[in-house]
């Protein structure tokens, strides 16, 4: 299929992780992974760590859904429940969402731009290890007698010593500071790598779309994480050193925390979605056999989202009584984000239109992304209409909305990416049959879990309540949600099973199983530690298209 692209293959056999593993003792292997500075191994570790935390966060979610199945149910007590939703949110955002995207970026950004590694390999390893350490630290809070029970956005002054006794909140804040340092390190590294290490000929206008989105995500990381780090440091100062940043009776401001947190928190949402936009922008063209429609507009829209998303944070705070004009400003800014997002959507559809769409698992998950993320975006418009948000804010409608974005968007897109790139990483194909089971169980379970939440929210059910009274019409919707969550469980189990067993059962992938167009498919699967024996020269956005179609290369049209 891709015999046009021949690469010298000196020692690739010895480089397959599976083969290396066979030749190495257990300790030697552990030592190898612990000390590696290879961006590919670090990327794999990021993804594995994220999947472990995904399972932990999922178990937390199932426990909560079990408690909410019946009104006034006594499965969990209030403290356990409040700790669970705090840990679930913290885990999914900081230790699943961000690291899985940074991990995939780590593996593929250097490969896609024809580089041999990230710009700062040791900083890269440092970033991973402190992220993992931060996650472990947050979970260590259980040792102190219980996890924090403050919610993942931890509104002051609930985080003060007065209202959160014990050390759990300190572990939480410290853990997030530490993992935040890792995230910032990752962001710096991506920017340096993408700006400084592209293959000859690959101007910034010719980078693969995933790389472009990782660049803007990294800028957002640099702008969004430091305010969070500062705010968390203030919490630690308040709790440990008697400072008064959020201590209202002593002249502090509880309101300040909300602004600081959401100044991080909203760009964070785009940190979690922009790389996914990049992944589906790689996958949809390959599986539709068409070039990405309107690359320049897509690229500009990405920049637009990255900029506008820095000025929408207070739409999380419509109910704090900011007044009409600030409410209006943030409502308008929020609506504006929908314009570049719409542009992206239309361009994806235009890419598919007139193509030859092959529904292999990456495309199937991309379809899941397109069909579901749209709904999350539209409920976002409802929440952006400030007066409507006065009703919807902090209700289950919001819970439904952001899960629709983070699962329907981020997770479906990430699974598309995992299915797309697994053959490159391991040299083996994932089982398509299992992938289909995983997709449909997730698709149905997800709709059933989070659809009803929109309705219970509209019926007046606030979020973060450990129990509720019968008689408000909430029972049936909660029961459907729990049922949906149970349907999702086997889907994740299948994913883990498929990822593990395909390591040796999967069909050998070859270099370029999808007949794709970006540089990572030029090297072997898995790539050697040095990635490319010869640094490739690039003439267009689809270097492999040019090689495969010398009679009609892309650079004639760009």
């Amino acid at each position: 299929m891709s015999s046009l692209v021949e690469q010298p293959r000196g020692i690739e056999l010895a480089d397959r992780p599976a083969d290396v593993a066979m030749n190495m003792g257990w300790t030697a292997q552990a030592h190898e992974w612990a000390t590696t500075v290879d961006h590919k191994k670090i990327g794999i570790m990021y993804v594995v760590m994220s999947i472990v935390f995904l399972v932990i966060g999922g178990i937390e979610a199932i426990l909560m859904r079990w408690q909410l199945f019946y009104p006034r149910s006594k499965v969990l007590d209030q403290d356990t429940f409040n700790q669970l939703f705090t840990m679930h949110g913290t885990t999914m955002v900081f230790f699943v969402g961000m690291p899985i995207l940074i991990g995939i970026g780590n593996y593929f950004v250097p490969l896609m731009i024809g580089a041999r590694d990230m710009a700062f390999p040791r900083l890269n390893a440092f970033g991973f290890w402190v992220t993992l350490f931060g996650g472990v630290m947050v979970y260590m809070s259980y040792i102190t007698g219980g996890a924090p029970a403050v919610g993942w956005f931890a509104y002051a002054p609930l985080t003060s010593n007065t209202f959160s006794r014990g050390a759990a909140t300190d572990f939480w804040a410290l853990g997030l500071i530490v993992s935040g340092i890792g995230t910032i390190a990752g962001g710096v590294n991506f920017i340096a790598t993408i700006l400084g290490m592209r293959a000859p000929g690959m101007t910034l206008r010719k980078v693969p779309f995933f790389v472009w989105t990782m660049l803007w995500t990294s800028f957002q990381i640099l702008l969004a994480i430091p305010p969070l780090t500062a705010a968390l440091t203030m919490i630690i100062f308040d709790r440990q050193l008697g400072a008064h940043f959020f201590d209202v009776p002593n002249g502090g401001s509880a309101y300040l925390w909300q602004h600081l947190f959401w100044f991080f928190g909203h760009p964070e949402v785009y940190i979690l979605i922009l790389p996914v936009f990049g992944m589906v922008s790689e996958i949809i063209p390959v599986f539709s056999r068409k070039v990405l429609f309107g690359y320049e507009f897509m690229a500009a829209a990405t920049m637009g989202i990255a900029f506008i998303s820095l000025s929408v944070w207070a739409h999380h705070m419509f109910c704090v009584g900011m007044g009409r004009m600030p409410d209006l400003f943030f409502a308008v800014a929020t609506f504006l984000v929908s314009i570049p997002t719409g542009i992206k959507f239309f361009n994806w559809l235009a890419t598919m239109y007139g193509g030859r769409i092959w529904f292999a698992s990456p495309m199937l998950f991309s379809f899941g992304f397109l069909s579901m993320f749209l709904i999350g975006g539209l409920t976002g418009i409802m929440l952006g209409a400030a007066p409507f948000d006065f009703q919807l804010s902090d209700s289950y409608f919001v819970v439904g909305h952001f899960h629709w974005v983070l699962i329907g968007g981020t997770l479906f897109g990430t699974f598309a990416g995992i299915h797309y790139w697994y053959p490159k990483v391991t040299g083996r194909m994932l089982s398509e049959r299992l992938a289909r089971w995983q997709f449909w169980l997730l698709y149905i379970g997800f709709i059933l879990t989070f659809g009803p939440m929109h309705i219970s929210g509209v019926l007046g059910m606030p979020r973060r309540i450990y129990t509720y009274d019968a008689g408000h019409g909430w029972e049936i919707w909660n029961q459907l949600s729990t049922l949906g969550a149970l349907i999702q469980v086997p889907s994740y189990a299948i994913l883990v099973y498929n990822l593990i067993t395909s390591l040796w059962k999967g069909k050998p992938a070859g270099d370029d199983p999808w007949d794709a167009w970006t540089l990572e498919w030029m090297t072997t699967s898995p790539p050697p530690s040095y990635n490319f024996e010869e640094v490739p020269t690039v003439h267009s956005r689809r270097p492999l298209w040019d090689l495969k179609h010398p009679e009609d290369p892309d650079w004639q049209y760009e």
Binding site: A254, R324, S338, Q391, R463, Y468
Partner: protein
């Protein structure tokens, strides 16, 4: 998208006191939010149908298994006119949404007027506590009231001739809370160090339910809200009773002495007695309330006795401990509390 609204309406039993649907508005403010909501549903619903339709059509029309594929389809790199068109279309929609949002925003966010005689307006300070609501009645119709009650708001019903709005001034004594009675208004947060305002008014007499909407600690789930919308006559009667100091019945003098001798008085107040605590609900007219523990249990002699014996099984984590009273002391105190009508 309309489907969500429809289901919500169907699921909510209209008129039943348990109904907390935002699509069953009982006030002008809640009504204008529903109008905006329906408009947004229609707009987003249309976008949904069109985009999802194009997606499904493309999938159905251009689907082709790999084995049947020969050669590559024509490559289309983009089109300036098309891009301009689908940038302009959402921009117009956004412009429209900004206009309707602005209108509703100006409609529901009211600035609080000054109290003056003849305005038929009630002013109440609401102070959020972990995990109950304190209501300080300031004035009604220009009359200074100045009494304190807890957990159950009473307000007069409006009618076609007279509007009787209530302006709530929202504050917090500890952490952030949020005041949400869905059928009457959108929520407004109570944030320590800030003063917020919310206006309620309704022509529908009866009970409206709601609850705290901002996570505020262990018992956030049981920080329920009850708004009794009374006829003007009922409301005046209720005001007259609440304004009085606590009754002093000689039959419960023993219980009163016991109550005042215990640490109850450190947190609770009973007007007209030395009990002046401010950390916990005012008990002056406890028996005029329908519920205990911020709305989670009915207020009956039995539940009151259970609560005084040990509140923790009823509302675990609440700030009132069990006092380990002897059975006799406890009975005396409950009997006294039952006299606080």
């Amino acid at each position: 998208m309309d489907v969500i609204g429809q289901c919500a309406l169907l699921a909510a039993v209209r008129g039943s006191p348990g109904n907390m649907s935002i699509f069953a508005p009982a006030s002008p403010g809640a009504h204008s939010i529903v109008d905006l909501a329906i408009l947004t549903f229609v707009v987003t619903g249309l976008i949904f149908v069109v985009v999802e339709g194009v997606l499904l059509y493309s999938v159905w029309r251009f689907r082709q298994p790999r084995v049947e594929q020969t050669g590559e389809p024509p490559q289309v790199y983009g089109s300036m006119p098309i891009e301009v068109a689908w940038t302009a279309a959402p921009t117009l929609i956004v412009f429209f949404l900004v206009l309707v949002t602005t209108r509703t925003l100006w409609d529901v966010e009211k600035t609080q007027p000054k109290s003056k005689p003849g305005d038929n307006t009630l002013f109440v300070n609401v102070i959020g506590h972990q995990w109950w609501w304190e209501y300080v009645y300031e004035s009604y119709d220009g009359r200074i009231l100045g009494f304190v009650t807890a957990n159950e708001l009473h307000m007069p019903v409006s009618d076609d001739d007279t509007m009787r709005p209530v302006y709530l001034t929202l504050k917090s004594a500890d952490v952030c809370h949020s005041y949400w009675v869905p059928r009457l208004a959108g929520k407004v947060d109570l944030i320590p160090g800030r003063v917020n305002s919310l206006m309620l008014e309704t022509k529908e007499p009866g009970l409206q339910l709601g609850q705290c909407a901002e996570f505020c600690g262990a018992q956030h789930a049981n920080m329920l809200l009850r708004v009794n919308v009374d006829t003007p006559e009922e409301f005046e009667r209720w005001l007259a009773n609440e304004s009085k100091a606590a009754l002093e019945e000689s039959a419960v003098a023993d219980g009163r002495a016991k109550f005042l001798a215990q640490s109850c008085v450190n947190c609770h107040a009973v007007r007209g007695t030395p009990a002046r605590g401010t950390y916990a609900p005012d008990l002056t007219h406890l028996m005029s309330r329908q519920t205990l523990a911020s709305g989670i249990i009915e207020n009956t002699p039995e539940t009151l006795a259970d609560w005084v014996r040990d509140p923790q099984p009823i509302k675990p984590g609440c700030l009132m401990p069990a006092f380990g009273l002897t059975e006799r002391d406890q009975q005396l105190i409950v009997r006294y509390l039952l006299s606080l009508r």
